[in-house]
Amino acid sequence: MSPDILDEAMEIWFGPQHVSAHGWATKLTLVGDYVVECDPNAGYFHRSAEKVLEFKNFRQGALVLERMCMLEAFLAEYPYVAAVEKIAEIEVPERAKIMRTIMMEMSRLHSIQFWWGQFNAELGFFTMALWPWVDREYSLDAFEELTGSRHTVSYSTPGGVKYDFTEKFMKQLHRAIDRFEDRLPKFRDMQMGSPTFRARTKDIGLYHYKQGLKWGLSGPPIKACGVPMDLRKDDPDPNLAYDMVDFEIPITENPEYPGSSDALDRMEQRFKEAEVAVDIIKQLLPQLPESGPIIDPKARAKANRLPEGEAYARVEGTRGVTSLWLKTLDKAQTAYRAKIRGPCIASYYALKDLVPGSKFADFIVIFGSLDPYPGWWDR
């Protein structure tokens, strides 16, 4: 930057303690109301998960990964389980595949509902912040009924799932879905129809999907640009039941700038993702066989000591591609090296090139619309 601007610039820390800094610290250089330079730095949530994974056996590892993102626990723990199943060649019974997919779509739904509330709270609208969180309580009750814990569910293990669907759980599952569906038109009015929301998010944080891909963005921030990039269709996982469902990858077109997205499109995109998630659940529920094994009996023995090998398992999380690269030595009880890749670092560091030029109040909107979750990156 030219020196004369620098001397009147004001450096302000959007520090870790800030109300809506999501646990990261960003140093903004402001000239007047405009952000001139944005320097994101992470590391306040670092729990050295990859080092911890080297001391956890293969039935405990999923717990570490699940705490990377408590919001989508079913989706977060799955890459570890899939990597172990790939190395140990464990088959998963049909019923467990469907149960896993249903619970992963439920966790996607409630993670999107949480993000709704958080994004509206950042825009200062606490009414619409708490309404989605009320609907989310119904799915949390369903999780607690099924697995015994609302967030840290630890549901899938190598070889299948731990708990079976009970009658009460099915009732609560339907209640959560119906509650989401009959409040959706009301939320559309309050959200997309609100003039202040459109004023705050139109043409804010605009980027082309090619630039987004170069930053490493994936998931909703790219699908909002009209690009159907979704692992559920591009790289379907054998141990999940996405091939049993015919669904369309939801994308949002931006009329003025084709191929790119702004904060309004990203909100519209998440509306569609929630609807597709509910649609998948509805298609899968009748295909669930009444009875049958939910875990491969030999899996527990196989998962104790793994042969030598490397595996790379990925899943389409709510915030993007979530993956785990696992390497094990021969007959080892613990992983030799486990690399967790979360989607949120790309969205946080994309701010470095995305925010300069916009106003100070828009930094929050861009930051929130990319749905960053510090647990995913700082590990």
């Binding site: 730095n41 992470a42 590391g43 670092h46 050295s48 990859e50 080092k51 080297e54 001391f55 956890k56 056996n57 090619k210 891909l213 170069k214 930053w215 490493g216 963005l217 994936s218 690009v227 990039m229 591009d234 790289d235 790379y312 591609v321 993956s323 690269w325 390497k327 007959k331 080892a332 009880q333 613990t334 030799y336 090296r337 690399k339 890749r341 670092i345 790309a346 560091y349 090139d353 700082d378 590990r379």
Partner: protein
Amino acid sequence: MSTIGRAVINKIPEITSNALGDNKIELIVPAEKIREVITIIEEELEDAMPESVFGIDLENDQYQLIYIFWSWSTKTLVQLRVSLEGEKPEIESSCDIFPGLEWHEREVREMFGIDFKNHPDPRLLLLPDELDGAYPMRKRFTTDQSRLEESGIAPPRPRPKPEGGDSK
């Protein structure tokens, strides 16, 4: 072999490649050729997304660096494997080609000590300042293992048991 694999091979013959799955390919790349391979990937592989860069410590100063790229339009996953040795191995930084790799490279630098030459801002990414030179992800960095015996997992390297046989 997928098109990208053939494209890279005929440009730089000494790269060996093996297929990992139907649409995944792995290329073993010598350390000094890494920038060329990545520029080829950037041109040839359409819609390439840099997923991650990470190191593996194979003890006695043997390291491996793995780059992963995913292109959703051609549905191919390219995994480059670079092996390095030495106390503080060196490699060129390729974050000007893919800006997404910049923070992954910073993390590998602070965790493994693999230095990326001419990296734009080589600060620490995740670690506090006290752990600047400690490189915690190396196997040499021992953590507090006071209650490891109770935890039921054998120590990471199976030590030969004095009384033989696997008692646990």
